[in-house]
């Protein structure tokens, strides 16, 4: 119950931020512009619209998590809200979970709204919304859940700038993590191999959650794929959140 209350107030504070509206307007404009400019790519109009739309949803969702999430933790500390809340009968675990749930709720709303605009643009361009497109949106939500967990972890012990930097680094590296495994396999020597393999397993495999290509080209996804990646994303986010609670429990609130 306390987690829900905190999540509600966290979400409410995000929804007051002007930057949320600005970013969403920008994302909508980008999607509409893809519709306007798509005739320039002769024969690939539909693919351009779908690709740009799905990419915009993913990029803007992650950007919002970093922009709003890191600032939110910092502002709550600066304004004494964190201290006031932790003086009440709530545990630090509940606080972390409440903040996390509020941020994920904000990302979900943003993704659903952006996806709605995207679907509208696709319909306007004369195409049909496919299952793969919906799956791509769903996986963006899962990516948002992982990125929020990472941000929660980093924000619990570092400044907003460092927290954002660490999160963005993880997102970028997470999209190239499969290259690390290839790199590890080709490496000579045991230590570099172990380090590269370790980094691969440590970083989130965000490319696993990217099915844009399948959505654009209408390729079929393997059976049980969605269930598998859902399990992966939930497990990864849970482990990172657990670490965040450990860090936050040991932290002093001055």
């Amino acid at each position: 119950m306390r987690v829900v209350t905190l999540a509600k107030f966290t979400l409410k504070s995000y929804l007051q931020e002007k930057i949320l509206l600005v970013v969403m307007l920008f994302a909508a404009l980008l999607m509409l512009s893809s519709y306007v400019l798509s005739p320039l790519a002769v024969g690939a109009q539909q693919k351009i619209v779908v690709d740009i739309g799905l990419a915009a949803i993913s990029i803007f969702a992650v950007s919002l998590i970093v922009l709003l999430g890191a600032g939110s933790f910092h502002l709550e500390k600066e304004r004494g809200i964190l201290r006031a809340l932790l003086a009440k009968p709530i545990s630090r675990v509940e606080f972390v979970l409440g903040k996390y749930a509020g941020t994920v709720a904000m990302v979900s709303i943003v993704v659903v709204l952006m996806a709605s605009v995207h679907m509208l643009v696709i319909t306007l361009s004369g195409s049909d919304v496919t299952d793969n497109m919906l799956t791509a949106v769903y996986l963006t939500l899962l990516e948002g859940a992982i990125v929020t967990a990472l941000l929660t972890l980093f924000a619990s012990f570092s400044s907003p700038v460092l927290g954002s930097f660490f999160t963005i680094s993880c997102v970028v590296a997470g999209h190239f993590s499969s290259d690390l495994l290839t790199f590890a396999e080709r490496m000579g020597g045991t230590t570099p191999k172990i380090v590269a393999a370790g980094a691969y397993y440590l970083l989130p495999n965000l490319e696993l959650l990217n099915v844009r290509s399948e959505a654009v080209h209408g390729l079929a996804l393997p059976e049980g794929f969605v269930l598998g990646v859902t399990f992966y994303a939930v497990a990864y986010a849970a482990v990172v959140l657990y670490l965040a609670t450990l860090v936050f429990r040991a932290k002093e609130v001055s």
Partner: protein
Amino acid sequence: MAILELHAVQKSFRSGFLGIRTPVLKGLDLSVEAGEVYGFLGHNGAGKSTTMKVILGLLKPDAGRIVVFGKEGAGRETRARIGYLGEEVGLYPHVNAVEALTLVGELCGMSRSQTRTRAHDLIEQVGLSDKRAVKIKHYSKGMRQRLGIATALMNDPELLLLDEPYSGLDPIGRKHLRELLVDLKRQGKTILMSSHIVPDVEAVCDRVGILSGGKLARLMNLHEVYAGETGEVEVTIAGVDRRRLQAVDYGGTELFSKEGLMILRCAGDRKLQNLIADVYSSQGHVIEVKPLRTRLEDVFVDAVREARAGEAPRGANEREAALTRR
């Protein structure tokens, strides 16, 4: 029965590039009895806020024990019985007073109807009825402080920890708060209130502890403080030529002099008798002779000075003494 006890609590903070530890609390012992209002006085940076945070478990002490309601530390159950108002009020700016109190009520495990009733009562009590629907970001400092007091009272706490509660309040707000604290005291609430403004503490507290040098430098009952006489008197006289009086050695100081009225401070010994005799012999008259009582402010200043002198390195004591003499 003591509701709150601190035993030899130590707390230091890392500072600077090398992270050298600076001690703030150096073995603080404190005991707050049930139903009393305890004034926690100290100069800026003495460690009053740190003490409150240590009690609430927001900061971890380096050493020592904290016992609240007979239990070690401030766990969730203990915090449910405490109300806290920090230096910064700590409210979400985008919500209104009712929503802010609803958040606190729900976090304290109160039911929705209980929360709503209590929130409206408290808003009334702190004088924010006409501002209940206004977002907190539009509140003045004083209004935020009043709402902060309401949030501290939301769970009907047995123990209230108030860190500089008068901060930012105008005279009307101060008066309201004073009355509210007296009322809470009457209800049997235990209050630990920190401040560096002496009159605020004098107005409501039963006992006063002065924190200086990381320890409790003095602990006293306020009625004991006021019972103490300084041995000096304040004499108000009229109808005497000032130059004539200046010629008399009464061993005191002139506090005020205007249009034949003078207020003098002098020792209440034989010289006072000489002064009075001289006034009457000069066709003047004595309006008032008031024995001066010990003031909490003086006790506070003395305690801080003593603690600082005890801490100062060799040579600094003499320098301070020389400055005081000057």
